[in-house]
C-alpha cells in the first residue's frame, strides 16, 4: 500500500470528475492542492504522450520530487491519473484496468451524463477497495 496516492479522473475537457486520496499517509492540509497541482501540470505531458502510443497505459509520465504520475488514457480520452510514491508498476496497471471497467459501467448508466462528476458512492467504495488491493 502506497503511503501517498492520489487518484483522479479527468474528463476529456480537462475537468476532474472524480478525486480520491487513496494513500495511507496521514493527510496533510496542503497535500490536496499540491497533488492537484502536480496532476494538473502532468496533463501537459499526457497531452503529448497520449498520441505517441496505442497503449492505454502510459506508465509514469511525470514526476515531482519523489512523487510519480502514472496515467491511463481511455479510448474516449478520459484520463485516469495516479500520483504515487511506490514503484509497483504491475499493480498500478491492474488498478487502472479495473477502474476502467468500473468507469465503463458508470458510463453505461443512462442517468450518468458523460463528462459530469461521478458521485456514485458505489464507484467510490469500489475504487478505494481496488486501491487497497493493488497499490
Amino acid at each position: 500500500m502506497a503511503t501517498t496516492a492520489c487518484f483522479i479522473i479527468v474528463s476529456r475537457n480537462d475537468i476532474p470528475i472524480y478525486e480520491a486520496e487513496v494513500g495511507v499517509a496521514a493527510k496533510r492540509e496542503d497535500a490536496a492542492q499540491l497533488h492537484q497541482f502536480i496532476l494538473h501540470a502532468a496533463l501537459d505531458i499526457v497531452q503529448d504522450l497520449a498520441w505517441t502510443t496505442s497503449a492505454m497505459y502510459l506508465k509514469s509520465v511525470d514526476r515531482f520530487n519523489e512523487l510519480v504520475v502514472s496515467v491511463y488514457v481511455t479510448a474516449g480520452h478520459t484520463r485516469f491519473m495516479l500520483l504515487h510514491d511506490s514503484r509497483n508498476d504491475d499493480g498500478i496497471k491492474s488498478f487502472f484496468q479495473e477502474v476502467h471497467e468500473l468507469y465503463i459501467k458508470t458510463l453505461l448508466n443512462p442517468l450518468y451524463l458523460p463528462g459530469s462528476r461521478i458521485t456514485s458512492s458505489h464507484f467510490d467504495t469500489k475504487v478505494r477497495a481496488l486501491a487497497r488491493k493493488y497499490l
Partner: protein, 1288 residues
C-alpha cells in the same frame, strides 16, 4: 546556425576571454578619478575589439584570423574568488528592486497569455533575469580548477608623478600583493608583464614623462613599455555625445553619465584605444600563441603516442592508492594535468576549439581516474561548451553538460556555485536549440538550498514551459506557483503576488478546486498583508464557496475573509458574493392580479390546472373587448398588458433557495428585495436606457435603488444557515401606491460584515423552467416589472372544518366562509369544484339543519324527484344578489364525502366581480386548495344470483371487510337505490352482528333477498298492502334511530357521481341494482388520532347486474309430487312456464322441448359442457317393478338408486307431449305464460330440464355499436324435479 551568434555563444565569447591583471599606483587612480572613473573603468570600454583582424597560429601550422576579441580587466586584488555573501546581498537587492518595479507596473491587470506573442523570449521574461544569471556565473569565477580565469598578462601602471617610477614598477609586482592564485601555485607566477606609464596632461607637459619612458625602455625592454597621456582637455569639460563609458558604469556610480570622462578629449580616447589594441594584438595574442605551442609540444612529448599512453595508465594506476581526498590530488601549475588544462583553455580562448577539445578529452580521463571530481566536472563542462561552439554532436554536448552538472552537485555545497553556472550554460545551450522543456527541467534542478535563488530559477523554468512548443501552460502555472511560494518564504511578497497572478491566467475558470482555492487564497492573503484590502477581498470572494474543502479549511477561508473585510473598514457591497449560493432555478414570484390564492398550497399548483378549472367561469378576453368603447381597452395600453399587474397594498412574494455549500454555519441577516418604484409609465422608458448604460457597475445600481423605499414595503429576513443546509426564503414587497414596481434582485448581509447582491436578471438561461406562473413571451426585464394598480377588494375564503384525514365513505357537512375585508362590495359570485365526487355544494337552507339528523327518513316522506337535484358538473352560481362586504362573512354549506382512499387534492375556485367597473381588473378568482388524506375503511362487495324458486327474486350476498387498523364500525343500513327494488334480510341482524359492530380487520358476509316490486303491473293494488321496503336496517330494532333516506340531497348526489364513476358496462337501467351501505363508527371506540370522528359513512356499490343469462327469465310451475296409478294408464302432467322479459323491448322466445336427452344434434352445440358431463341424469325409473314394493322412503334405497340410474342407457323416461316447439312474443317488462305437458310411464323422480329456450331481441339499427349487449341467446333449461309416485 552559427553557435557564436546564439546567446550562449555571445556569453562565452564575452566571459571566457583572457584576463588582464591590472596593477596601478594610487596616483594613476587619482588622475583617472578626475573623470569620475577608476583606471580600470577608463580602459574597459576599449577592451573589446570587433575588428581586430589578427592572424593566429596555434598548434597547427595553418594560421587563421581572429576578428572579434575581448579582454577582461581585473585589479590584482580582485583576482580571487568573489565574496559569496556580498554577491548574495547584491542579488537580493536587485530582486527586491525588480519586484517593486514590476509590481507597480502590473498592479491593475493580470497579464493575458497570448499564444502568438509568446514566441519571443524577451517579450515575456523579465529583463533582470539576464543580469541575475550573469551575476550568478560571475560568482563562480576565479576557481582554482579552471585556467581561463588565470591572468594572461599583468599590466603595471605607474604615473609620471610618482617618485622613482622604475622602482615603483618593481614594487607593484610584489609577491605579497599578488593574488593567491599565483602564490599558491595554482598558476604559473612567471606571468608576462607590460609596463605602462600614465601621464596626466593637467599636471604639466610631457617632458618628464618622456624622460621616464626612456628610462623604462632601457630597464624593461622596448616592447613591453608604453606611455599613455590622459586628461588632455585642460579646462573645458567635454560632453561626449555617445559616451562609451556610460554602458559600463550604470550601476553604483552617482555621477551622471554626461560628466564621465569629461577631461578626456578625442586624442586621449584614441590613445587608449591604440594602447589596448596593441596590447592585445602585439602582446596578449602572441603570448598565448607562444604558450600554446610550447605546451602543446610538451603534451605531445609526454602524453601523445602509444607509449606515453601506456606509461600514463601505468603510472596513474600506481598513484591511485595514495590520494583519496574529496578533491583528488592537488595539481601544481607545472604538473602535466594543469598544463593540459591551460593549453585547452588557451586554445578555447583563441577559438581553436579542435585543439581545446582534444586536450580536454585527454585531461578528463586523467581527472576521472584520479577522482579529482571538481576538475573533472570543470573539464566536462568545457567539453560541452566546446562541442557546442563546434556545433558538433549535440548529444555529446548535452551529455557532457549533464555529467558536469551532476558531478558538481555531488560535490555538495561548495560545488553549488559551479553547478549553477554549469546549469545556466546548459540551459542556454538547450534554449539555443529550442529545447525549452528540457531547459525547464534543468532550471528545476538548479534550485538549491538558497530559497530566493530557487524562486528565481523556478520562475525562469515556468517561462521556459511557456516558450516551449507547444506551450505547456499547466506546467507554466504550476512552476509559477512553486516559485511564488519560494518568493513568499523569503519575504518577496510582491514577487509572490506577481507570479501567482500570472499563474491565475492559467488557472482562471478551472474546475480544479484545490488549485483555484490555493491561488486565490494566497493572493488574497498577500494583498491583505500589503494593505490592499479591496483587491484582497476580490480574490478571497472567489474561494468562499469551497464545498470540497475540509471544515477547518473552510473556517480558515471564511475567517480570513471576514478579517480582511473588517480591516478594510467600510462595508463592502459586492455583486458576486458566492455565500450563500442562490439557487436561481428555484426562484418563484407569486403575485395576485385577478388570481388570488386563499391557501398557501394553492400557489404551488400549476397554472394549467387552475385554468382548466376556471375555464367556464371566466369571461373570455375577446368577449370582454367586443365593445370598443369598453373602459378596459383604454386603461391598459398595449405595453402594460405585457407587464404583470399587481394591486397596491397586496404583497408580491418572491421565494428562492439559499444554499450553504460549507460545512460550517453562516449567519445571514437583512435579506431584502431590491426594488425600484416609479410613479408613472413614462419614467420606465427613460430608465430602461439608463439601466443598459449602467450595467457595468451593478453594485452601484443596487446601492442607489436600495435607498428609495418610501413607496413600497419590503420584508426583511434574518436566519442562520447551517452547514450544508438549503433554506427556502420567502420575501415580499408590498407596493403602496399606483405606479411601476420593478424587482431587481436580492441583497443580504453575510456575518454582519459584507453585503452581497444578486441580480435576478443576470442568469438568464434556466429561468423559464423555474416559473410556471409567468408568460414566457415576456422580455426578461418585463418579468420582474409590475404595474401597480389601485386597491381593489379581495375575497378571503376558507372551508371549515375540513378534516385532514378521513375514512373512506365519511360524509360530513362543511361550511365555506367568504370574507371581504375591503369596503367595496363584490358581486356575481360563482364557484367551481374540481372533484364533485368528494365535495358538493349544498343549499343555503342546509346551513342550519343538524347533521346527520337531517338525513333521516321523514315519516311523511314526500318522494322528491332526485334527478332534478343532481348537479351537472358545471359552475355553481351563487344566488342573484349575493354580495360579500364588510364584517359579515358569507357562509355556504358544502357536503364532503371521502369517496375513495388515497391522498386527494381538492381545488376550488371562486369567481367574483368588482362592483366598481373603473378598475383595470374587473373580476378576480379566489383559489383554494386542500389536501385530504382518505384512509380505507369498509370494503363492501355484492354478489347477486337469481333465485330459482321465484321469478323476480334474487339472492344478494354482501361481503364487508373492515380494513382499518383500530376502528370498529356499526353497519347500520343497506339500501337499494330506486323504488322498484325490495330488499329484506334472510337472518335477523342479531345473528349477523352479534357484537353489533364490525371490528378492525373483521370480515363478514350476510345474505339478502332482493325482489322486484310489482310497481309496473298494478301499483295501486299493491301499495297499500305491501309498502316498498328498499332499506334494510342491520341493527336491532330496539335502537331508536330511524332509517336514513338515501334519496335526499347529499346522498343522492354523491350516489350520482359514484354511479358515473363506477360505470363499467352500462347494460340498461332495469337489470342493474345499486346498493348503498350506511355505517357509523361504533360509539364506544374512538380513535384519538381523529379530532373529529366520522358521524356517518356511506358506501356505494353500483351496477350489479342481476340478469346473468339474458333478459329473459323463466320458471316452470307445476306440482312437485304426484300420485298416479300406473297400472291404469300413463301419467299426463300439465306444467306452466312463466316467462318474464326484463329488457326494454319485445322479445321473441322459442321453447324447444327435447325428448332424447343429451344427444340431440342441436342440443350438443348449445352447451357442450353439459353433454360431456358424465352424470347425465336424464331421470330414472324404477327397474324393479316386479316386486311392486316401494321403498322410496328408504334411505338405503335412495342411496343405491343413482348408481343404477347411471348405468342405464339414456332413454328419456318421459315424453314431452303437446307441441315440441313453442313461439311467443313477450312484451317489454311483462310476464307470459306457456302451458307445457309431459307424459310419464312409471313412477320416479324426473328432471325436467330437457328443453332449450331461445330468445331474440329485435336489433335496433343503431344498437350495433353496443357490443356488450346481447341480441339473442340460447338457454338450457333449469333443473326441475318432479316425483311421481304409484298411487295405492
Amino acid at each position: 546556425m552559427d553557435p557564436a551568434t546564439t546567446p550562449l555563444g555571445q556569453m562565452l565569447l564575452d566571459e571566457i576571454t583572457p584576463v588582464v591583471m591590472l596593477l596601478s599606483t594610487p596616483s594613476v587612480e587619482q588622475s583617472c578619478l578626475k573623470n569620475g572613473l577608476s583606471f580600470l573603468q577608463t580602459l574597459r570600454p576599449f577592451c573589446s575589439f570587433n575588428n581586430i583582424d589578427v592572424p593566429v597560429r596555434t598548434a597547427s601550422d595553418q594560421p587563421y584570423r581572429l576578428h572579434k576579441f575581448k579582454l577582461r580587466l581585473f585589479y590584482a586584488s580582485d583576482v580571487r574568488k568573489p565574496d559569496l555573501m556580498v554577491a548574495k546581498e547584491q542579488l537580493k537587492q536587485v530582486i527586491t528592486e525588480a519586484g517593486d518595479k514590476m509590481f507597480s507596473d502590473s498592479r491593475s491587470d493580470v497579464p493575458k497569455i497570448n499564444h502568438e506573442l509568446s514566441s519571443s523570449e524577451h517579450q515575456n521574461t523579465p529583463s533582470w533575469f539576464q543580469f541575475l544569471n550573469k551575476e550568478l556565473v560571475r560568482v563562480a569565477s576565479f576557481s582554482d580548477h579552471e585556467a581561463f580565469d588565470h591572468p594572461v598578462i599583468c599590466l603595471l601602471a605607474v604615473s609620471s608623478k610618482d617618485e622613482q617610477p622604475i622602482n615603483r614598477f618593481i614594487d607593484l609586482f610584489n609577491a605579497n600583493k599578488l593574488p593567491s592564485l599565483l602564490n599558491d601555485g595554482a598558476m604559473d607566477p612567471k606571468i608576462s608583464k607590460h609596463y605602462l606609464l600614465v601621464h596626466d596632461n593637467q599636471d604639466g607637459p610631457t617632458d618628464r614623462a618622456s624622460k621616464i619612458f626612456t628610462e623604462m625602455r632601457n630597464a624593461f625592454g622596448t616592447i613591453d613599455c608604453s606611455l599613455l597621456c590622459i586628461n588632455s582637455s585642460l579646462d573645458a569639460p567635454i560632453k561626449h555625445q555617445d559616451n562609451p563609458w556610460a554602458l559600463y558604469i550604470t550601476d553604483a556610480s552617482p555621477t551622471p553619465s554626461q560628466d564621465l570622462a569629461c577631461f578626456l578629449n578625442i586624442d586621449d580616447i584614441n590613445e587608449i584605444k591604440n594602447l589596448m589594441q596593441d596590447l592585445s594584438s602585439k602582446h596578449i595574442i602572441p603570448n598565448m600563441e607562444q604558450k600554446i605551442r610550447v605546451l602543446n609540444q610538451q603534451v605531445s612529448a609526454t602524453r601523445k603516442g602509444f607509449k606515453n599512453q601506456i606509461k600514463n595508465l601505468w603510472w596513474r594506476k600506481g598513484k591511485e592508492d595514495g590520494a583519496d581526498s574529496l578533491n583528488g590530488p592537488t595539481y601544481n601549475f607545472n604538473s602535466i594535468e594543469s598544463q593540459i588544462r591551460v593549453l585547452g583553455d588557451y586554445a578555447f580562448m583563441l577559438r581553436d576549439y579542435e585543439l581545446a577539445l582534444s586536450n580536454y578529452r585527454l585531461i578528463s580521463t586523467d581527472y576521472k581516474i584520479d577522482k579529482a571530481w571538481k576538475r573533472y566536472a570543470g573539464v566536462q563542462e568545457m567539453m560541452g561548451l566546446t562541442y557546442f561552439m563546434l556545433d558538433q554532436s549535440r548529444k555529446e554536448a548535452e551529455y557532457c553538460m549533464e555529467n558536469a552538472f551532476t558531478t558538481y552537485l555531488k560535490l555538495g555545497s561548495f560545488g553549488q556555485l559551479n553547478a549553477t553556472r554549469c546549469g545556466l550554460w546548459w540551459i542556454e545551450m538547450l534554449k539555443a536549440r529550442d529545447e525549452y522543456k528540457e531547459a525547464a527541467t534543468v532550471y528545476f534542478r538548479i534550485c538549491g538550498e538558497d530559497i530566493l535563488h530557487s524562486a528565481v530559477m523556478l520562475e525562469q523554468a515556468s517561462y521556459c514551459y511557456l516558450l516551449s512548443k507547444p506551450s505547456m501552460l499547466r506546467k507554466y502555472g504550476f512552476h509559477l506557483v512553486l516559485s511564488g511560494e519560494q518568493y513568499k518564504k523569503c519575504d518577496q511578497i510582491k514577487h509572490a503576488i506577481r507570479t501567482y497572478k500570472s499563474a491565475l491566467s492559467v488557472f482562471r475558470g478551472t474546475t480544479w478546486g484545490y488549485i483555484n482555492d490555493h491561488v486565490h487564497f494566497h493572493i488574497g492573503q498577500w494583498y491583505a498583508s500589503l494593505g490592499m484590502y479591496d483587491v484582497a477581498v476580490k480574490h478571497m470572494m472567489e474561494i468562499l464557496a469551497c464545498s470540497h474543502q475540509s471544515k477547518t479549511t473552510q473556517e480558515l477561508f471564511l475567517g480570513d475573509f471576514l478579517q480582511i473585510v473588517e480591516k478594510n473598514g467600510r462595508t463592502f457591497e459586492v455583486t458576486k458574493l458566492q455565500l450563500p449560493v442562490i439557487n436561481i432555478s428555484s426562484l418563484k414570484v407569486v403575485f395576485e392580479d385577478y388570481r388570488t390564492f386563499g391557501t398557501p398550497s394553492a400557489v404551488n399548483t400549476k397554472e394549467v390546472s387552475w385554468r382548466s378549472l376556471e375555464e367556464e367561469m371566466l369571461p373570455s378576453f375577446s368577449a370582454a373587448k367586443t365593445n370598443w368603447l369598453e373602459l378596459q381597452s383604454k386603461l391598459i395600453s398595449k405595453k402594460d398588458i405585457q407587464s404583470n399587474v399587481c394591486v397596491a397594498g397586496e404583497a408580491v412574494n418572491v421565494s428562492f433557495e439559499f444554499k450553504n455549500p460549507l460545512l460550517i454555519s453562516i449567519p445571514i441577516s437583512g435579506v431584502t428585495l431590491v426594488c425600484k418604484y416609479s410613479a408613472s409609465t413614462d419614467e420606465v422608458k427613460s430608465n430602461e436606457n439608463e439601466s443598459s448604460l449602467e450595467k457595468d457597475d451593478e453594485a452601484d445600481l443596487f446601492r442607489n435603488r436600495s435607498n428609495d423605499n418610501s413607496s413600497f414595503l419590503v420584508s426583511e429576513v434574518d436566519f442562520l444557515l447551517g452547514g450544508g443546509e438549503t433554506t427556502m426564503i420567502q420575501l415580499s414587497v408590498t407596493p403602496r401606491a399606483e405606479g411601476i414596481l420593478e424587482i431587481h434582485g436580492v441583497k443580504w448581509k453575510l456575518s454582519g460584515k459584507i453585503v452581497g447582491f444578486h441580480n435576478f436578471e443576470l442568469s438568464l438561461p434556466n429561468r423559464n423552467a423555474g416559473k410556471g406562473r409567468r408568460k414566457t413571451k415576456h422580455l426578461q426585464n418585463e418579468k420582474f416589472k409590475f404595474m401597480v394598480i389601485k386597491s381593489i377588494p379581495k375575497l378571503q375564503g376558507s372551508i371549515h372544518p375540513l378534516p385532514e384525514k378521513a375514512y373512506a365513505g365519511d360524509l360530513r357537512q362543511l361550511v365555506l366562509e367568504l370574507r371581504n375585508p375591503s369596503e367595496f362590495p363584490v358581486k356575481n359570485l360563482k364557484m367551481k369544484i374540481s372533484h364533485p365526487r368528494f365535495l358538493i355544494i349544498g343549499k343555503q337552507e342546509n346551513i342550519r339543519s343538524e347533521f346527520p339528523a337531517c338525513l333521516r327518513k321523514k315519516t311523511d316522506s314526500v318522494q322528491c324527484d332526485a334527478d332534478s337535484n343532481i348537479m351537472s358538473d358545471t359552475v355553481f352560481l351563487f344566488p342573484e344578489g349575493t354580495s360579500v362586504q364588510g364584517e359579515t362573512p358569507l357562509l355556504w354549506p358544502l357536503w364532503f364525502r371521502a369517496a375513495v382512499p388515497g391522498d386527494i387534492s381538492l381545488y376550488m375556485s371562486i369567481y367574483y366581480e368588482m362592483v366598481d367597473v373603473s378598475s383595470v381588473i374587473r373580476y378576480r378568482t379566489l383559489r383554494l386548495h386542500y389536501n385530504v388524506q382518505v384512509l380505507p375503511s369498509l370494503d363492501v362487495s355484492f354478489q347477486t344470483s337469481p333465485s330459482q324458486l321465484r321469478l323476480q327474486e334474487f339472492l344478494v350476498r354482501m361481503d364487508i371487510v373492515n380494513k382499518t387498523n383500530s376502528e370498529s364500525f356499526q353497519v347500520y343500513q343497506l339500501s337499494s337505490v330506486g323504488h322498484h327494488w325490495e330488499i329484506s334480510l334472510l337472518q335477523p341482524p342479531d345473528t349477523i352482528f352479534p357484537s353489533q359492530s364490525l371490528m378492525a380487520g373483521q370480515a363478514i358476509s350476510c345474505f339478502f333477498t332482493l325482489k322486484k316490486s310489482r310497481k309496473f303491473s298494478a301499483l295501486e293494488d299493491n301499495v297499500s298492502t305491501l309498502p316498498v321496503r328498499s332499506d334494510v336496517r342491520l341493527v336491532p330494532q330496539s335502537s331508536d334511530d330511524l332509517v336514513y333516506d338515501i334519496n335526499i340531497a347529499p346522498l343522492i348526489n354523491f350516489h350520482h357521481y359514484e354511479r358515473l364513476q363506477q360505470e363499467v358496462s352500462y347494460k340498461g337501467d332495469f337489470n342493474a341494482v345499486d346498493f348503498v351501505l350506511i355505517s357509523r363508527p361504533f360509539k364506544s371506540n374512538n380513535d384519538p388520532g381523529f379530532s373529529d370522528p366520522p358521524h356517518l359513512m356511506s358506501h356505494h356499490a353500483c351496477h350489479f347486474s342481476i340478469a346473468s343469462t339474458g333478459p329473459i327469465s323463466w320458471l316452470i310451475d307445476g306440482p312437485q309430487t304426484l300420485h298416479h296409478d300406473f297400472s291404469a294408464s300413463f301419467c299426463e302432467i300439465s306444467l306452466k312456464m312463466h316467462l318474464y322479459n326484463s329488457s326494454g323491448a319485445t322479445a321473441f322466445v322459442r321453447i324447444d322441448t327435447l325428448d332424447s336427452a343429451g344427444n340431440g344434434g342441436h342440443n350438443s352445440n348449445i352447451n357442450v359442457a353439459q353433454t360431456t358431463t358424465p352424470d347425465n341424469q336424464a331421470g330414472w325409473h324404477d327397474i324393479t317393478p316386479a316386486n311392486n314394493e316401494l321403498k322410496v322412503t328408504s334411505p338405503k334405497f335412495l342411496e343405491n338408486q343413482p348408481v343404477k340410474a347411471l348405468s342405464l342407457e339414456s332413454v328419456s323416461p318421459y315424453i314431452w307431449s303437446g307441441s315440441s316447439s313453442t313461439h311467443l312474443h313477450v312484451e317489454a317488462m311483462s310476464l307470459a305464460e306457456i302451458p307445457l305437458q309431459i307424459c310419464v310411464f312409471s313412477p320416479g323422480t324426473y328432471d325436467l330440464s330437457n328443453y332449450v329456450l331461445n330468445w331474440r331481441l329485435p336489433s335496433n339499427g343503431l344498437g350495433d355499436s353496443d357490443e356488450t349487449r346481447q341480441h339473442s341467446g340460447k338457454c338450457q333449461g333449469y333443473k326441475h324435479y318432479l316425483t311421481v309416485l304409484q298411487s295405492t
